[in-house]
């Protein structure tokens, strides 16, 4: 359908251009020739020559001057006459040249459009394959996340039944029951993670001191990701922000830093014109080049299946976009990574 439509559009464009070209061709190409070949131009030149001949009789002393003027006019008249005799031939040749140029232009346009169409097709195909591959990976992770606790719970239930049949004591039965409960709790956490991704609410923006939020965060989470040390780099600015959501973003970033083997995370507040930026810099091992372009896509993670869904950065960026700002990967190398939080200039509630 797309191909047919593109071809139809191409044919219509070429037909319209050709019609316009043919309409204008004769008018445009013959204008300059017709100006030179107007009968009154020729008549004026002939009269001028007659005048020169008359003048030589009236003023014989200046005969040579009149002769020069006469010769000049005659030469001009001769040229126009030669032009007139070749008019049709010249027009035909010029039109032929214009037609050739038009054909080349049309051909180039057609080739360009065709190549663009083919490229779009290839891109669409690649994007589709990417999407399918991503969904396959997601399905694999989901299956693993569910299958693990389910299998464990089933085995524990079988063991519980065996224990009950063989008259096990209450303590042993309680341990088996607790084990089943732990597996069910894992399933609950898994579904909760998805619930939080799917049910992200809109931020309630309030005017807050960013410096104060960072300071509190460093204090509250000082021992959350040992051995990572959190450092407040100083600076302050008032931003419109949902404090809880910002905290969630910072938690996600620090969790990633800890997994990247960072020893410290430094928060730095920067003002760029009217915008406020918060740089989060760690000294971890950095992000692999193959992942950098897709780092904010859902389900992109370096963790093994069963150890996390790769939703953290995706959720974090969504939260910052909802703030009217953004979250970008500023730089990353084997010496560390810097994420930049940009805050919007939105109106606070």
């Amino acid at each position: 359908m797309t191909r047919t439509r593109s071809l139809a559009l191409l044919v219509a464009a070429v037909a319209a251009a050709a019609a316009l070209f043919w309409t204008l061709l004769h008018q445009i190409s013959s204008v300059w020739l017709d100006v030179a070949l107007r009968p009154e131009v020729r008549q004026a030149l002939e009269h001028s020559m007659e005048d020169q001949k008359t003048l030589r009789q009236l003023d014989p002393a200046r005969r040579e001057a009149y002769r020069r003027q006469f010769d000049h006019t005659r030469t001009l008249l001769n040229r126009i006459e030669v032009l007139r005799m070749n008019r049709e031939n010249m027009l035909h040749r010029f039109e032929l040249a214009l037609v050739a140029m038009f054909a080349v232009a049309a051909l180039l346009t057609a080739v360009t459009l065709w190549m663009r169409y083919r490229r779009a097709q290839e891109r669409e195909r690649a994007e589709y394959l990417d999407r399918v591959t991503s969904l396959q990976e997601t399905a694999r992770r989901h299956a693993h996340e569910i299958k693990g606790p389910l299998t464990a719970a089933r085995l524990e239930l079988e063991r519980l039944a065996d224990l009950a049949r063989h008259g096990a004591d209450d303590e042993e039965l309680a341990r088996a029951q607790e084990s089943v409960g732990e597996e069910l709790a894992r399933l609950t956490r898994f579904t909760k993670e998805f619930s939080s991704f799917g049910g992200l609410g809109q931020p309630i923006l309030r005017r807050e001191s960013l410096g104060q939020i960072v300071e509190e965060f460093c204090s509250t989470f000082a021992n959350a990701w040992p051995p990572v040390a959190l450092h407040d780099g100083g600076g302050d600015a008032v931003v419109c922000v949902d404090r809880d959501m910002l905290r969630q973003v910072l938690v996600n970033l620090c969790s990633n830093s800890a997994r990247a083997g960072a020893g410290s995370v430094v928060f730095g507040i920067v003002k760029s014109g009217a915008r406020v930026l918060l740089d989060v810099r760690d000294d971890g091992e950095g992000i692999a080049p193959s992942l950098r372009a897709r780092v904010f896509d859902p389900y992109v993670t370096t963790r093994k299946v069963g150890e996390g869904m790769g939703l953290g950065l995706s959720i974090s960026r969504k939260l910052m976009l909802d703030h009217g700002g953004d979250l970008v990967l500023l730089e990353t190398s084997e010496k560390g990574t810097v994420f930049r939080l940009a805050f919007g200039e939105g109106v606070c509630n």
Binding site: K53, D71, N78, R79, L83, N89
Partner: protein, 189 residues
């Protein structure tokens, strides 16, 4: 029956006229010359062109069919509108050039009938094809007009004018306003 007779009569008249238009060939000192028919100058398109002020050029090409050699001559006629005289030039097969001016059309016609030297030959018999092409202007006038148009079009200077130059260069040319061809079995003994 009467119509068929009329057609035959017309054909006879046409053949007669065509026969009258043939050049008259002579040989003198081993050189073959042709006196061109006066009717050529009287033809309407030629007559009109002769008075235009441009140089009407008559190209005569003589091909000896039995030998395959081609020789020729050129006659140029221009009416000078200032002095109101006919300026003529004749260039024969061996490069011999003659220039003259005539005050009247009668003198021009007399000059026209003077045989034009076409080729040297000692053969008793020559199978000859003679072509006469009447061009409306000379090569010099053609070059001058081409240069003028190129200059008027603002091309021919550095950059970008090559295509237009080529177009003009291959477009302006003197197309014959009329031409004649005679096949002659020439006995020269």
């Amino acid at each position: 029956m009467r119509r068929a007779g009329l057609a035959i009569a017309l054909l006879a008249v046409t053949l007669c006229v065509r026969a009258q238009q043939r050049p008259a060939f002579t040989r003198s000192a081993g050189v073959v010359a042709a006196a061109l028919p006066s009717e050529v100058l009287q033809q309407a398109s030629v007559k009109k062109q002769l008075g235009s002020g441009l140089t009407t050029t008559f190209l005569v090409a003589a091909r000896q069919r039995d030998r395959g050699t081609i020789t020729g001559a050129r006659l140029e006629v221009r009416y000078d509108l200032w002095d109101e005289v006919w300026l003529v030039k004749r260039v024969e097969f061996d490069g011999k050039t003659e220039r003259q001016r005539f005050a009247s059309a009668e003198a021009l016609e007399k000059w026209w009938r003077t045989p034009v030297r076409l080729f040297a030959s000692d053969a008793d018999r020559v199978l000859l094809q003679v072509e006469l092409s009447v061009l409306p202007f000379s090569a010099a006038e053609e070059d001058d007009a081409r240069a003028w148009i190129t200059k008027a079009g603002g091309v021919g200077t550095a950059g970008g004018g090559g295509l237009v130059d080529a177009l003009i260069g291959t477009t302006i040319s003197a197309k014959p306003i009329t031409s004649y061809r005679w096949n002659v079995d020439l006995a020269l003994r």
